[in-house]
């Protein structure tokens, strides 16, 4: 929400003192409006004017940082409600919840399961990034559990509404830059002092949106703008409504008091029900949850949720690509047929999925087509007889695979003749138009 030059001019002292190296205040204001000089070049601006200007040039939703070292993450900074309007910026984080009151065996089992789920998907590491620790009045125990959580290599979220306990636990863990949740209308001053002293993010909650808004406004007035907002655990309906209302107020109505990322603990909304929690995690991944905590995250939860998040947080302006290369599918070896596709992630997923379903082993050649789909890549000249034969040479396919059958997508059947002349010794077969027909095609072909 950029201010116009005239608006800025009204805030200047209008003395034309030239201390800013500009001939007049008006000239200076115009330069500031263009972003050519910072407002701080004028030594005579009043603090109120500076505050007003910095507020006006602030983004609608703040970007906050949590965790240290390899566990550092950014949240917030979103400018649109829906990904197609531009793009979503910082992906939400998933985590599990521990309580200081849990026995060690339970804690160790949950952390072991969490750490085990760590894999690669389209070149990105898939894992749950954080662990929530519900502190108790027993400081030593709370610190011990927090240390266990940190030892798992995850960012730490502390929930601790008692400021005295919070102070002790934060002091023991502040090098890891945890998030401290549990601030409310009742204790915000003490909690904010703890968070500010440690330079960490403070999680704020409230009985309803009005109370939350009030508390955040007070925190901001007291100089704390390093916050996340707790969506609450009163009910699923309220938590979802809060998520939408907060984001909508910040991005659509310019209410900067609500311009912070959010936190939601699904274990409190659907205790003991992992399927309901997975459904909620999905809902909050699409609609405005920033830190999403579940009771547990095993492979059953991780595989769909991490895939969903990876999809939703891809930039719609850039296609999702897989690395070009030779992918053996369904236990393929050097004697299995070769199939050609492009490096558009969706093409790769659909084709590899259908090959797997056919139970006919095949080597999938993912060629570099700039991340376009088959027809688009062909139209753009990025999938051609030349590009396929070049791929086969560069990847030494002939040395790696003895089979000399190459199945090309049905939509580029036109390439068959030229390919056969470029690849002596190969039999080029025209495959199906749609991936879904591959199952039948490959089975028939095998016979």
């Amino acid at each position: 929400m950029a201010l116009k030059g005239l608006d800025i001019f009204k805030l200047t002292p209008k003395t034309n003192c030239k201390d800013c190296d500009h001939p007049t205040c008006m000239a200076f204001a115009m330069k500031v409006a263009q972003g050519a000089v910072p407002i701080s070049k004028c030594p005579h601006m009043s603090p109120e004017a500076l505050a007003k200007l910095s507020a006006a040039t602030e983004p609608p939703m703040k970007t906050i940082e949590l965790g240290a070292g390899e566990c550092a993450h950014q949240l917030g900074g979103e400018t649109v409600m829906l990904r197609h309007e531009k793009t979503l910026v910082n992906k939400n984080l998933y985590g599990i919840g521990l309580a200081a009151g849990m026995p060690d065996t339970a804690i160790d089992a949950l952390l072991a399961e969490l750490v085990k789920v760590d894999y690669d998907r389209i070149g990105k590491r898939m894992f749950a990034e954080c662990v929530l620790v519900e502190c108790s009045a027993d400081v030593a125990r709370s610190v011990a559990v927090a240390q266990k959580a940190l030892a798992s290599g995850r960012a730490l979220i502390l929930h601790c509404p008692d400021a005295a306990v919070a102070k002790a636990v934060v002091e023991a863990t502040q090098a890891a830059k945890p998030v401290l949740c549990g601030a409310s209308a009742a204790n915000w001053e003490a909690m904010s002092a703890v968070a500010k002293a440690a330079g960490i993010v403070l999680g704020v909650g409230g009985a309803d949106l009005s109370e939350l808004h009030d508390t955040v406004a007070k925190l901001e007035a007291a100089g704390n703008r390093n916050l996340i907002l707790d969506l609450g655990s009163a009910s699923i309906k309220d938590a979802f409504a809060n998520a939408v209302q907060i984001r909508r107020a910040a991005l659509k109505d310019g209410d900067r008091t609500f311009g912070y990322p959010s936190f939601v603990n699904l274990a409190a909304l659907a205790p003991g029900d992992l399927v309901a929690q997975a459904a909620l995690a999905s809902l909050f991944t699409l609609r405005y949850g920033s830190i999403v905590i579940m009771e547990r995250i095993g492979y059953a939860e991780a595989l769909p949720l991490f895939g969903l998040r990876q999809n939703i947080y891809t930039d719609p302006q850039k296609p999702m690509k897989v690395a070009p290369g030779l992918y053996p599918i369904g236990g393929a070896d050097e004697n299995s047929v070769c199939c050609v596709t492009v490096d558009f992630a969706l093409s790769y997923f659909v084709v590899s999925g259908e090959i797997e379903r056919s139970r006919v082993p095949a080597n999938l050649l993912v060629t570099d087509a700039g991340g376009y789909s088959v027809l688009t890549a062909w139209a753009a000249g990025k999938l051609s007889a030349a590009s396929i034969s070049k791929f086969i040479q560069e990847n030494q396919v002939e040395a790696k695979i003895k089979n000399r059958t190459l199945i090309i997508p049905g939509k580029v059947a036109v390439l068959q003749g030229e390919l056969e002349s470029k690849l002596p010794g190969w039999k080029v077969v025209v495959g199906t138009n749609e991936a879904i027909q591959l199952v039948r095609f490959l089975r028939d072909y095998q016979q």
């Binding site: 998907r121 699923i236 409504a241 459904a279 909620l280 999905s282 492979y299 949720l305 895939g307």
Partner: protein, 313 residues
């Protein structure tokens, strides 16, 4: 400084009813963004359909699903089982066996099965084809005549066959129909325009704007629905105000995460929980993006998604 929620008003999604008598379900009709029921109470909550197929499911590795259908052998028995799933609003019978690339069941055989199924089904009925355009066209023509009066929702008409299917199902026998397009708001709109030009009323028309499992290009599914709902609700685009029906299970149970047995990848754990979570996560994401109905297979997913919808109202 207290927080005041600004009231928001939107245009409405059209309502489509299928089924007859007491067995009726209505999709759409609301005037809020998807699941934003705090803005206004929904006219009709999103519906959950249970998918069954003429061929029966491969239940190996899925003991809960197997137990659910137990001894139910015939299609009529299975459809009665499915209709009793907690949270089910309608049943979707998919003629997988009609696929010329599979069993290639004849149209006559499918008609007999559909009549048995319709007689046994206590819920509104939705009929899906085998995704082979030519076979589906013949199949829907025959089924529309055989199921006259039952007001079935047919899934789905496509660009290639909307004329024949639209005329045979809606115009000739008063059924309802969903138009299917592949994850593109313009294609979805074009199909609606063409179909309504046949003389089909908007109230008989739904959309399947495309579906995929979470992780498999779901951003296209979600962004297409985001755009459709923005156009329909904020810009009053009447040709995108049809309710959206999303078949979820047919996608999610066909991906690796749901199909690989626990023997093949032991670290992934049991196959059934993976399948359930894939289906549930995808369904919740579809509802958040704009589906007015989702079609699911597993009783646990059906129950949990129905419970989620109820919790949001």
């Amino acid at each position: 400084m207290p927080f005041h929620t600004k009231p928001r008003t939107f245009k409405s999604i059209g309502a489509l009813s299928f089924g007859n008598g007491e067995r009726t379900v209505t999709l759409g009709g609301g005037n809020t963004l998807p699941l934003h029921f705090f803005d206004a109470k929904p006219a009709n909550p999103p519906a959950v359909g249970v998918e069954i197929t003429d061929t029966g499911f491969d239940v190996s590795g899925l003991p809960l699903l197997a137990a659910c259908y137990g001894t139910a052998g015939t299609l009529a028995e299975r459809i009665q089982c499915a209709a009793q799933f907690k949270g089910a609003n309608f049943v979707c019978l998919r003629f997988e066996g009609a696929d010329p690339g599979g069993l290639d069941r004849s149209v006559e055989e499918c008609v007999t099965l559909a009549q048995e199924a319709a007689a046994a089904c206590p819920l509104p009925l939705c009929i899906a084809g085998c995704r082979n355009v030519e076979k589906d066209t013949q199949l829907f023509k025959a089924l529309a005549a055989a199921l006259q009066g039952r007001n079935v929702l047919f899934l789905s008409a496509r660009e290639e066959n909307y004329k024949t299917v639209g005329a045979a199902t809606v115009l000739a026998y008063g059924h309802t129909l969903a138009g299917e397009s592949a994850c593109d708001v313009n294609l979805a709109k074009q199909l609606n325009v063409l179909t309504t030009q046949l003389g089909i009323a908007k109230g008989s028309l739904a959309m399947n704007t495309g579906s995929a499992a979470a992780g498999y290009g779901f951003e296209y599914v979600s962004s297409t629905m985001d755009r459709v709902k923005s156009a329909a609700l904020e810009q009053d685009d009447t040709m995108l105000q049809m309710p959206i029906v999303t078949p979820v299970s047919v996608e999610t149970w066909a991906v690796k995460e749901a199909m690989v047995s626990s023997a093949d990848i032991p670290e992934w754990g049991g196959q059934e929980p993976r399948g359930i979570q894939m289906e549930t996560v995808t369904a919740a994401a579809c509802l958040a993006s704009g589906s007015d109905a989702v079609i699911l297979r597993h009783p646990v997913s059906v129950e949990k998604i129905a419970a989620l919808i109820a919790a949001l109202i």
